[in-house]
């Protein structure tokens, strides 16, 4: 039930855009996005719910395609602070708190 993330790694210059994808073979109720910097705890970014509700964080946005069971995280005009590993976590309707995390996408932003 582990979601699949792509790409595995992205290297950007400041101001460039990036898209990180997350797909699941199981029906999704919610998709959670977290960012983890080296040596730190994962930090919650946003949740996307089945039915189209969306919550955002800073200037990062995301979409949730229920039919394709996919979510995409969009980082526009990237900043140095965006560097880190991004994880998507997928949850079903009966799995409060239990998330299945992907292997992560490592994002590096250079000046």
């Amino acid at each position: 039930q582990q979601p699949v993330q792509s790409p595995q790694a992205v290297i950007l210059r400041e101001g460039e855009d990036a898209v990180i994808n997350c797909s699941s073979s199981k029906a999704l109720y919610s998709v959670h996005w977290y960012r983890q910097k080296h040596g730190e705890a994962p930090v919650f970014l946003m949740i996307l719910l089945k039915g189209g509700e969306q919550k955002g964080h800073e200037k990062i946005s995301a979409s949730f395609n229920e039919k394709k069971q996919q979510s995409s995280l969009y980082l526009t005009a990237s900043q140095l602070s965006y560097s880190g590993t991004y994880f998507c976590g997928t949850g079903g309707g009966s799995t409060l708190g239990r998330l299945y995390f992907g292997r992560g996408t490592q994002l590096t932003v250079w000046p």
Binding site: Q2, Y29, S30, H32, Y34, G39, E40, A41, P42, V43, F44, I47, L49, F87, G89, G91, G93, T95, L96, G97, R98, L99, Y100, F101, G102, R103, G104
Partner: protein, 116 residues
């Protein structure tokens, strides 16, 4: 407002030994989940505690056990340690909201366990 705190930050143990990791949830949170994160991998769900009971459990052996106290803090115990148990152990707290099918997780910085 203190976030999730975990102790110790690092631990080195020998195969066969037992270990206890501790977690204090974010103020106001009542649910604690434990995750294991191997190097280069995403966090893997171990179990979740709510109202002092184990509510959900991931695919981990019985060597992994836990407890939640009345003040919502939690412990993770691992018996008969194996080399493969070496990982970062993350505690995450959340607030149970009735009727809401999701709840953001707030993670601690983790305990780095090394088994030699």
């Amino acid at each position: 407002d203190a976030g999730v705190t975990q102790s110790p930050t690092h631990l080195i143990k020998t195969r066969g030994q037992q270990v206890t990791l501790r977690c204090s949830p974010k103020s106001g949170h009542d649910t604690v989940s434990w995750y294991q994160q191997a190097l280069g991998q995403g966090p893997q769900f171990i179990f979740q505690y709510y109202e002092e009971e184990e509510r959900q459990r991931g695919n981990f052996p019985d060597r992994f056990s836990g407890h939640q106290f009345p003040n919502y803090s939690s412990e993770l115990n691992v018996n008969a340690l194996l080399l493969g148990d070496s990982a970062l152990y993350l505690c995450a707290s959340s607030l149970e909201v009735p009727g809401q099918g999701y709840s953001p997780l707030h993670f601690g910085n983790g305990t780095r366990l090394t088994v030699t």
